[in-house]
């Protein structure tokens, strides 16, 4: 503990004694001291976009660079598996400082910024967020800085080849090309709901992300049928496009805004006032990106399905009664736990499912867990995503579980691939809850999930009654 000099009161200037800036009781001598705060470095940045970028992000970057805590390193999923110093949150901020001083331009470093899942662990674990962020209303902003650098790169014509192709195809199809060579389109975006008799439009609609709508269709089918079981009224979107979030994450901001505009206008056209969201990535888009794009105009209520289902459980509107004989642990999706602080409701749901043996890992430990499935990483660097997923499933394997439960469709494809090698099933929490409600879910659990469930349902949690893999 630092102690003030006990003799300081009798001499020296006002800075000799500890003080809190702004307090009325401070030594009046403080007001007479010359400001010694370092000013800006006057280096002219000729390029307009770069200059505007630096002006916007310099303070956020110095916030990291001048602190140098580096608590971020060991919670960063990329750092954990690569140990590459150029791919750390620290480096991402230091580069901006270097750009301000004319030492770098975006073309020099754009490829480094691919190596981030935007999980938010570094931001949250940084003392500048965790211990002072709410006090100063000024926190570490790695995710925003990474997105801004990627956007600047795109503005300057510096593209990552897979991202460029992915976003061009998304723009063409209005949905992400999650099925590879198999086309996705407006004509098929509601195919997952076949036979469920869900109306289109209405005050409340269910928004289904591209991965769940086209690849892991068992998730939206589970959600829809649970809501129907509870008597919760909802419809499907009139003309749903991709939320635009992935384009924003990869730097294609104009496209992201155009997609957001379409979706907001479409909600308005069907009288929609409330949007149910089952995917954490969509939840980020609708509660962070859309508010930035539209400000006060954004008057749509956004409801996260996992929170709604926990509420329906509490209210007794759904009661899981079919035992699910699995030994599970829960994967906290980064965009729920780290970026939104949502971790209680999924556990509430899991603890309500009879038959389940649930070995929990607390939410703080899970700040350093990630599937590697976010931020466009699987598109540009699938091997790095696979390494991060393998590490996550290895952690689950140490618990002796047979199932890893997630609440994020985008995490479930890479985790399923990693789990297959360790004989661990990856199941979505909505699928699990539906099974416990006696619902035959149907749809697909994706390539790996379907194959494993076809061989005996991997312990019997695919919705029962022939629904799995159909």
């Amino acid at each position: 503990m630092t102690r003030a000099d006990p003799d300081a009161g009798s001499g020296g200037d006002a800075l000799t004694r500890p003080f809190t800036p702004g307090m009325a009781s401070n030594d009046p001598g403080l007001a007479e001291l010359t400001e010694t705060v370092a000013g800006r470095v006057d280096i002219e940045i000729v390029d307009r976009e770069t200059r505007e970028f630096v002006e916007e992000w310099r303070n956020a970057s110095y916030n990291c660079y001048s602190s140098g805590h580096k608590f971020c390193r060991e919670v960063c999923p990329v750092m954990q598996v690569t140990r590459n110093e150029s791919w750390t949150p620290t480096a991402f901020h230091a580069n901006v400082v270097a750009m301000e001083r004319g030492e770098l331009d975006v073309a020099d470093v754009a490829a480094d910024y691919v190596n981030c899942t935007q999980c938010g662990a570094c931001e949250l674990r940084c003392p500048n967020t965790l211990f002072t962020g709410d006090f100063y209303r000024f926190r570490t902003r790695t995710v925003d800085v990474v997105k801004a650098v990627r956007a600047l790169a795109v503005d300057k014509g510096v593209h990552q080849p897979q991202w460029q192709s992915w976003n061009a195809r998304t723009d063409e199809r209005t949905h992400e090309p999650v099925l590879g060579e198999v086309a996705v389109s407006q004509d098929t975006v509601r195919d997952w709901a076949e036979g469920l008799d869900i109306p289109v439009g209405g005050e409340t609609v269910l928004f289904v992300d591209c991965e769940a709508a086209f690849y892991r269709t068992s998730v939206p089918r589970a959600v829809a049928q649970i809501l129907q079981r509870a008597g919760f009224e909802f419809g499907l979107m009139g003309e749903q496009w991709c939320c635009g979030g992935p384009a924003a994450e990869m730097g294609y901001v104009e496209q992201a805004k155009r997609f957001a505009r379409h979706n907001l206008d479409n909600w308005r056209s069907t009288g929609t006032r409330r949007v149910l969201v089952l995917d954490p990535h969509d939840y980020i888009s609708f509660t962070e990106d859309y508010p930035k794009y539209f400000g006060d105009e954004f008057d749509i209520e956004i409801v996260l399905v996992v929170e709604l289902l926990a509420e329906l459980l509490r209210d007794g509107r759904i009661t899981p009664s079919v035992p699910v004989e699995r030994t599970v642990t829960y994967h906290d999706p980064c965009r729920l736990n780290k970026r939104k602080g949502i971790w209680e409701e999924p556990r509430e749901i899991l603890r309500a499912i009879p038959g389940l043996s649930f070995t929990d890992v607390d939410r703080v430990t899970q700040w350093s867990y990630c599937s590697g499935g976010g931020g466009g990483l699987p598109v540009e660097k699938p091997d790095l995503t696979a390494a991060i997923s393998a590490r996550r499933v290895d952690a689950a394997a140490t618990l002796g579980v047979d199932t890893l439960v997630s609440a994020c469709p985008w995490s479930e494809r890479p985790l399923s691939a990693a789990g297959d090698a360790r004989d661990i099933d990856v199941v979505d929490i909505h699928e699990l809850l539906a099974e416990s409600l006696g619902i035959t879910v149907g749809g697909s659990r994706g390539e790996v999930g379907d194959r494993r469930s076809a061989g005996g349902c991997g312990g019997g949690s695919c919705g029962g009654g022939g629904g799995c893999g159909s």
Binding site: G22, S25, D134, Y136, F232, E233, E301, D362
Partner: protein, 95 residues
């Protein structure tokens, strides 16, 4: 009847009326203390902070400190206990 507990832009950007707790600090939500915003109008400006973000950080801080205590602290002392020890030491005949 459908019940919801969702995000609404207007609510998120309307924090509770601040209560002053010192010359330089305010409080809004329970356990959330903030610097007087007038002190951040010159060198570093405050960021846009929806309510959920202030609450997320405050809650995460408490969870993190609990986690640290569980993992690294044999026992947890309050500040008042430590001060009592200091006072006791200062007033002892040997001090």
């Amino acid at each position: 009847m459908n019940r919801t507990n969702g995000y609404r832009y207007g609510e998120q950007h309307t924090p509770p009326a601040p209560q002053r707790v010192s010359d330089v600090a305010l409080t809004t939500f329970e356990h959330v203390y903030e610097v007087d915003p007038r002190l951040m109008e010159r060198w570093v400006l405050q960021q846009t902070f929806p309510n959920w973000d202030s609450l997320r950080i405050m809650n995460a801080r408490h969870d993190h400190l609990d986690w640290m205590h569980r993992h690294f602290a044999e026992k947890v002392l309050t500040g008042s206990e430590l001060l009592a020890e200091v006072d006791a030491a200062d007033s002892s005949p040997d001090s």
